[in-house]
Amino acid sequence: MSTMTAGPAESTLAAADFDTLAGGLTEPEAIAVARAAAWERFTALPWPTKKSEEWRYTDLTKVGFEALTPVVPATATAEALSADVREVLGRSGERAGVVVLREGRVAHLELEPEVARSGVVLCSIRDAADRHPEVLRRALFEVQPGPAEEKLWALHLALLGGGYFLHVPRGVEMPAPIHAFHIVERAGTLSSAHSFVYGESGARASVIDEFLSDDLDAETVSLHGATITGEGGAGIEYVALQRFGRGVKRFSTQHVAAGRDSRIVTFNVTLGGDLARTDVTSRLDGPGSDSEMLALWFGDSDQHFDHHTLQHHAAPHAHSDLLFKGALTDSGSSVFRGLIRVDKGAQLTDAYQTNRNLLLSEGSHASALPNLEIEADDVRCSHGATIGQVEDGQLFYLMSRGLTRRQAERLLVFGFFDEVLGRLPMEGVRARVREAIEEKIGL
């Protein structure tokens, strides 16, 4: 079944030229120009190598980008919810809306009528480009990534067309989360989707992005970006639950901007794919803002998960707290590289950064590189990282009750993760994440 209204050019990235790629897209001038500029930057920049600090542990040159077939999503379509999506939704409690994306193209979108009446806008990025081109252009195309991240970010923007746009007006509190499913079905493709979440002052929003695919038999790349913005006093909870099948490599870049007295929680759960790179930047723009950055991962076989974070305190009196926990088995490997940056004017900053790793096998490997860069003098900051194994005493205790070594280890991983899960404010979201982790870990 094909519901695409305007198919993309089926050529490899190496052979693609931008006009063919973007052909068939009609979009506002501002976006078209910005997109073309992004493509130009992408083609001009070299791929970053392992010589750069950001890519020391993940060799991008080993990803066969040039041979992939880029997909630029055309117009959104309206198809019924597929069985797998309905199955998950049936077990996920209350929600305010659902978005289903296939290779970035919005295939289904629904918002509770009552929520829509309160002024909340949920639409595809393509529609947002028509209706709010300036908002979108500023939020996406003016983000300035670091030099080593620019190449991929430019590619993400050049291919962009996929994803959704959520806008919650002043003072509106959404009663339940939006649940989005990012589905990748076509092996050998390169697709890109963006999650745009904007809360005006006093707004409350909760979003869960779930990334999934079957095991694919050819190298497939999924690019993802998120911009999460909270104006004064807003409260936003954003969860990315990544459970791609094997064969998929995913790169996600997430930018949080926290306004005065806002509170923004991001939670990345990484379970699937061959390679998953996640960059999260939280900019504390307003005094009194609060950013909580959480992550969990469980890697097995030869999965490689790479996390880079920045807690950027640009305003005084703000608080940020990062807790990333990962467990690895088989030959799984992971990286955490985090930086707390406190600008000169950001006095009375409270910033914490903790990464804990649990290794279950001889062959697994974790790297942890926490870092501070502080220019203000009246701050409270701490950072720390640990890499350890399960405790023998705990293991013996569990085994003495009949649990096999594997069961005991897995139960200890759950215990290790619980502290982070407990910090998710929404019970329904917490239950969904716990279930996905259980499915991956097995018991």
Partner: protein, 256 residues
């Protein structure tokens, strides 16, 4: 006479990688349905014996054997021994933050099911609630993390709760009485007695310092461990003698 539930012969053990033997030739037979008390001064090797029975990997058995229901268990992993019916109530139970008692016990019960066998979730919850009530535990206890921040008494009760749910053939209770006030001691002792009543074949090896718990759980046989050996065995009256005279009169026997 039928074969003993537990039969220990010439057992010698040391800490893995060290020279000094802690167990220096232990012999002990425990029949089905019997309660044995194991007493002895601090450091004589009681907990080591308990942990070696359960298969703790820190210890190396250098000689002797442990037969459980006639089978040599020394080659079995700790989980296999547990599923075979051996239960150790720890003197110092491990704390497992993040794992609730209910989740832990559900996994333990699950591990006893055959491949493809489905757990009766409601049955499990009912059993758990029943056993908690028997041990006068608050229902909210099941959702607490295993031993995390528990008082000494709560930890001991939690050990007996696990024994009650897992229904072993042999319970080795290592100083389950220490740190309990008299009311808590009575509750725990009554719990153990109820398990004995429910399963007449249940064997109990009750390790203790004090005679106090033996007022509530009647032992069939009392052993005294001195410097890694059973120095003396006798009837319940041996415990009275130890209470009155201490262990000094046994020093000579042990040294020989």
């Amino acid at each position: 006479m039928s074969e003993p539930l537990l039969s220990i012969r010439g057992l010698r053990a040391k800490v893995e990688g060290e020279d000094a033997e802690i167990l220096r030739g232990v012999d002990l037979d425990l029949q089905r349905g019997e309660v044995h008390a194991l007493m002895g001064p601090n450091g004589s090797g009681k907990s080591t014996l308990a942990k070696v029975i359960a298969g703790h990997p820190a210890y190396e058995v250098t000689a002797g054997e442990i037969l459980f229901e006639g089978e040599d268990v020394l080659e079995l992993e700790p989980d296999e021994r547990s599923r075979a019916g051996i239960f150790l109530a720890f003197q110092y139970p491990a704390e497992i933050p993040g794992v609730s008692i209910a989740n832990f016990l559900r996994t333990a019960v699950n591990s006893r099911l055959d491949e493809g066998e489905e757990m009766d979730v409601f049955g499990f919850q009912r059993t758990l609630a029943e056993k908690m009530e028997m041990l006068k535990m608050d229902p909210g206890f099941a959702t607490r993390y295993v031993n995390d921040g528990f008082s000494g008494g709560e930890k001991k009760r939690n050990e007996i709760l696990q024994m009650a749910v897992l229904r072993p053939a042999l319970g080795v209770l290592d100083e389950t009485d220490s740190g309990l006030d008299i009311d808590a001691l009575k509750v725990v002792a009554r719990g153990v007695n109820r398990l004995s009543e429910a399963d007449e074949a249940l064997g109990v090896l009750l390790i203790t310092h004090y005679k106090r718990i033996l007022n509530y759980i009647q032992p069939d046989i009392v052993h005294v461990m001195m410097a890694g050996r059973i120095a003396e065995s006798g009837g319940a009256s041996l415990a009275d003698k130890l209470e009155a005279e201490g262990y000094d009169w046994l020093q000579q026997t042990a040294a020989v």
